[in-house]
Amino acid sequence: MATVDKIVAQMPKSLSKVEFSYCPGCHHGIVHRIIAEVIDELGIAEKTLMVAPVGCSVFAYNFFDLDGTVAAHGRAPAVATGMKRALPDRIVFTYQGDGDLASIGTAEIVHAANRGENITTIFINNAVYGMTGGQMAPTTLIGQKTTTSPYGREPKANGYPIRMSEMLSTLEGAVYIERTMVTTPQNVIKTKAAIKKAFQAQIKGLGFSMIEVLSTCPTNWGMTPIEAMKWLEENMTKTFPLGVFVDKTKGMI
């Protein structure tokens, strides 16, 4: 008999050692780690290309130990399309915020999904423009105060929180779309399963997959990281219900 010390969880290989630039408690970091774990588990690091967005995760291409680039604001799906068309046997994924994907990049994500572009998109919905200092996003909740909705988002003036997963699910080319969150170890595990499935769909060549992760932005919400998670669970999930919106992968993965 001897005492055996086993490491059961540690920084995944597909992450570089560069420290994240995120604020304390920001969920971007959790999702990064999950993606890296999935890539490690699928053994695809050496054939994966990542496309970072403009947003707080603009440095993401440096946080992953993968070939990568950063797209112009909102255009990651177009960049990924270019890559995937050039190298169809590589794995290409985009990582995008809600300003990036749901606002300026609307046309690009809609058409990537509609083309059934064989890429994977990780969509971080934190209901706010994090990087630029907390302006209203298309996903900002009704009544939510931000620096550009200082009196609270009012539908008459600013419209409604846009549900991208629901909208994109109407498109034939989308094969897997799920909305998750990462507020507890349990739903971290669920999110990981979803992201894994999305990558598997791509590996099988099925078409466009997207995982929307509801995330906190403690800094711009003006909350502690823990408060922010509660707020997310209590408020965001009402407007953005979790769930699988399309799954055409049955029996294929």
Partner: protein, 77 residues
């Protein structure tokens, strides 16, 4: 009781967000009194009673990938 698990926390990388502390079912994590170079009170393990089983909840929640989780077992060699 014998140690079943423990965690190492990269205190330089830690930003003191407290998500790990919040998630730890055994309440064996706490903020250090000290600042790291970034000026944060980093998280540390305080587990005098060896309660940590290495469940990795803290790892799952850490946004800055600071935590390495160990499990310790008596095994036949």
């Amino acid at each position: 009781m014998a140690k079943k698990g423990y965690v190492e926390i990269n205190s330089d990388r830690c930003k003191g967000c407290g998500l790990c502390i919040n998630a730890c079912p055994q309440h064996v994590l706490r903020f250090s009194d000290k600042f790291n170079d970034k000026g944060y009170h980093y998280a540390e393990l305080y587990d005098p009673d060896d309660k940590c089983p290495g469940c990795a909840f803290c790892y799952y929640m850490c946004p800055d990938v600071c935590i390495t989780v160990h499990r310790v077992a008596e095994e036949r060699v």
